[in-house]
Amino acid sequence: MLVAFFVACVCSIASSGQTSDDLALGLSEFSKGNFSLAAALFARAEEAAPGTTDALLYESKAYIHLEQFTAAEGALRRYLLAHATSSDALYLLGYVLHREGKAAESLETYTNAAQHRTPAGDDLKIVGLDYVLLNDYPDAIKWLEKAVEAEPKNKEAWYFLGRAYYTKSSIPEARKAFLTVLQLDPRDAKAENNLGLILESEAQPEAAMDAYRKAIAWQNQSLRPSEQPYLNLGSLLMEQSRVSESIPLLQKAIELAPGNAICRLKLGTAYLRLGKLTDAQRNLEKAVQLAPDDPAAHYQLGKLYKVMKALDRAKAEFDRTAELQSRAASSKPQ
């Protein structure tokens, strides 16, 4: 979506005849991927001729690439002061607000944008994801379904639709969505990993493990492989009492996502079951540090301390587990 937007911007510059050197230099650096420099050049161009060019729009785009969404929002809001009906800016602001976690504001902005231009499949996808952030899955599904209707080959929209279905336990629909992703991209690791989760929920552990293995193999070439298939396969192997086999997978998961508390918890638990208490302690204490409100982490740490005969510490962890479990047992509002 962003690439298409960038091309549109370049055309817009050429047609409007803007000649600012900074603007041209900024676009050049932007195209080379030098986003910080590009952002600075766009800012200077805007300063030279406030409100008369699309420099702020480009600046926001550079910040998006830099994942500096607050700065991007600022640039867009300033741009909209002079170009209040710019659908490009409004849709982009909706996206930026989504990335900032401001789902309600994002939806409001998308609603405004839609008055000026029919939303594309990607826009509808972000609207759906806004509803996910608001924990409103029926509406999330509604808009994600509209997204794939608008763009049947939008792989990401199908993927998120599958996730929304899965979260709502609509398993047949989730399976269909993930299979559609795999039709569009036969080696999509995320979709295959999710099929593994579905197979687990259907009590088909062997088939689930096959899916996780495929996902791991397919994402090997990825620049940003996910820890999830490693975690899922490792966890399932543990449930099959194949604890030794799970260790390298869980280690890999932690290598990919050092801050993932679940990975730490699983690896620590695996070490505990193998009697490797020092390794277990390191990982379980880290898991509790990362997720202090996870009762399972406190429980496993309590078990470890009990094995280590540190009974006072064990009691403290079990007490904390009970407190957290008790809270969870009546946490859902009526």
């Binding site: 899965y166 336990s169 999830q228 449930e239 399972a296 009691k315 587990t321 009546s330 859902k332 009526q334």
Partner: protein, 589 residues
């Protein structure tokens, strides 16, 4: 970051032989006609099983004379009680040596039902039912004569002789208030709830008669499920046909009720005083002395929160030790939907183990007692995990169906959500029962080769076990939700020996509930606790059954009575129902 969520959609010390305590040797009283008729379903010997002896369980409901259908009164509002019940009791109310059957029933529900309603039975289809077993093994409905029609929306039943008069009494739990029925000894019962002061309130589920303080009178423990009322809460997807029963997380936990038996027909509520008042979402209840300290302990199966193990401190109070004893959660520290439970020594090491049923994708929880106050989650290593992954279980009992000396597992199954197949197509609302054979090393699913009933999908809930025809093979009666009750007859072909022990306490409570029994043969020792409570909402035959394998003689039977008296019998012949009376001597451990 989180892992992507999964669908949510659970010291024997014995004294010397006292042969004088063997008062009566009961001969077998086989109801021959029923046995012969029942045996016609399968006449050929089952094929040899690689996993050992398969069972042969036969549905004899039609011929038994029991014609009962539990009225859940399902509504469009999906009120939670609709999917939870009901219980079964197997007990000998008239002391004729044959087990009788009591079945709990529901009541009509309005659609909608106003908040605050306490449903009441309005006609015969909603009555609880008592079936008396006749000499030919068939059953006769004696509900009206017995005065056991009941009142409210029934859930569970507990059996115990609370006044030690020699006749088993009934406690029936329900949504909105419970009933205590005193057995008058003449085939009739009297509702003594008000006088006894045990009516309770809220939504009661499983209950247990057990002498908590060793005074020789059975006390009463009653679990309650949730703080719940007839509110119109939509759960599940907001589309036609997808409305579902709400997850228990939507409701607050509630304390159980514990009534101390004052010994004069009245009771006093003491849950808080005894340390048993921790709020839970209790569904299943079982008793055993897990640490062999001579004091009976309690296990509570809670739904979707930590399970409770109440350790009896020996001073009349209890402490909850589920988490440090490692029976509160599964191997990964996760809670599960604990429903049915049994508390018995399946590996014959003398230490009572625990098994808990739950929902599909959770795996039934088997906790092996390590003998040091802790348990090890053994579902995976014992073969239970894979066997039960796709199943949802309710009533469950350890029972030695083939009399080989190892306690097997019989489980009543069926999902709680009648919509489950819409969202998880490979799971089933109606499921067959499951029979798992204990090989001595692990459990093996022998359901497929153990009879047609293991292929018939039921919405099973309560289950009680007992030897209906006194042939030494343990049978079962299963209640289904909005469906019939099934009488499941054990016709497993086996030459293995057995013994049934009927204990009568004199210093202890007359039922002998809480007594620990050890049976020693040339093959080794087995252990059991006298109880009527376990499974789900149900009460089973209080007699202790041991399969003896090839051993025609039990070298030693040792009983540790709740009074502390220890009694030892030597060289007891197999294949009999043995009456054991508690001696009056002072051979205390």
């Amino acid at each position: 970051m989180k892992r992507w969520p999964k669908i949510d959609i659970r010291h024997y010390r014995y004294g010397n032989l006292d042969a004088r305590s063997v008062i009566v040797l009961l001969c077998l009283a086989l109801p021959v006609p029923l046995m012969l008729v029942a045996g016609q379903e399968h006449t050929s010997t089952p094929p040899a099983s690689p996993s050992g002896t398969p069972g042969k369980f036969v549905d004899i409901t039609e011929r038994s004379g029991i014609n009962f259908r539990y009225q859940a009164s399902h509504t469009s509002k999906k009120y939670l009680p609709e999917t939870m019940a009901a219980g079964v009791a197997l007990f000998d109310y008239d002391n004729d040596g044959r087990l009788d059957v009591f079945l709990v029933n529901g009541a009509p529900l309005g659609d909608p039902t106003p908040k605050g309603t306490i449903p009441q039975k309005t006609g015969p289809q909603y009555w609880n039912r008592l079936y008396h077993q006749k000499t030919d093994g068939t059953f006769k409905d004696v509900t009206e004569k017995a005065g056991l029609k009941g009142t409210g929306y029934g859930m569970g039943v507990a059996v115990g002789d609370y006044d030690n008069d020699g006749y088993e009494d009934l406690y029936v739990t329900a949504y909105g208030g419970n009933k205590l029925y005193h057995n008058n000894g003449d085939g009739t019962f009297t509702d003594v709830t008000q006088k006894a002061g045990v009516g309770g309130s809220g939504w009661s589920t499983s209950a247990a008669w057990v002498d908590l303080d060793g005074d020789g009178f059975l006390d009463l423990v009653i679990l309650r499920y949730l703080e719940w009322d007839f509110d119109d809460i939509w759960c599940g997807e907001h589309k036609e046909g997808y409305r579902a029963y709400c997850h228990p997380d939507f409701f607050k936990p509630v304390s159980p009720l514990v009534y101390h038996n004052n010994g004069n027909g009245t009771f006093t509520e003491v849950a808080a005083k005894l340390g048993l008042a921790r709020p839970g979402k209790g569904l299943g209840l079982a008793i055993a002395d897990y640490d062999r300290d001579g004091h009976i302990d309690l296990f509570v199966a809670n739904d979707s929160m930590v399970e409770f193990l109440y350790h009896n401190k020996g001073n009349g109070t209890f402490e909850e030790v589920g988490l440090p004893s490692e029976v509160a959660v599964d191997i990964d520290g996760r809670t599960y939907a604990g429903m049915g439970v049994d508390f018995a020594d399946y590996d014959n090491d003398g230490w009572p183990d625990i098994v808990v049923t739950d929902l599909a994708n959770q795996r039934y929880a088997l906790y092996r007692n390590d003998g040091d106050g802790s348990f090890t989650y053994a579902s995976t290593t014992a073969g239970i995990s894979n066997m039960t992954l796709a199943h949802s279980g309710w009533g469950i009992r350890f029972l030695d169906y083939d009399n080989d000396g190892w306690k097997d597992l019989l489980i009543a199954q069926g999902h709680d959500l009648d919509t489950v197949e819409l969202t998880l197509p490979n799971l089933r609302y109606r499921e067959p029962m499951l029979l798992a054979r204990n090989t001595g090393k692990n459990f093996v699913d022998v359901s497929a080769e153990s009879g047609v009933i293991f292929r018939k999908p039921w919405v099973a809930r309560g289950m009680a076990i007992g030897d209906l025809d006194n042939d030494g093979r343990v049978d079962a009666v299963v209640n289904t939700n909005e469906g019939p009750t099934y009488v499941v007859h054990n016709e497993t072909p086996t030459e293995n020996h057995w013994i049934l022990l009927k204990l009568t306490g004199h210093q202890s409570n007359r039922d002998g509930i809480g007594a620990e029994v050890k049976a020693v043969t040339a093959s080794g020792a087995q252990f059991a606790t006298v109880t009527t409570t376990s499974s789900y909402l149900s009460a089973s035959d209080k007699r202790v059954h041991f399969g003896l394998g090839k051993n025609g003689v039990v070298q030693e039977i040792q009983v540790r009575w709740p009074s502390g008296v220890v009694q030892t019998l030597k060289d007891v012949r197999a294949n009999q129902i043995l009456q054991i009376d508690e001696p009056s001597g002072s051979a205390r451990w």
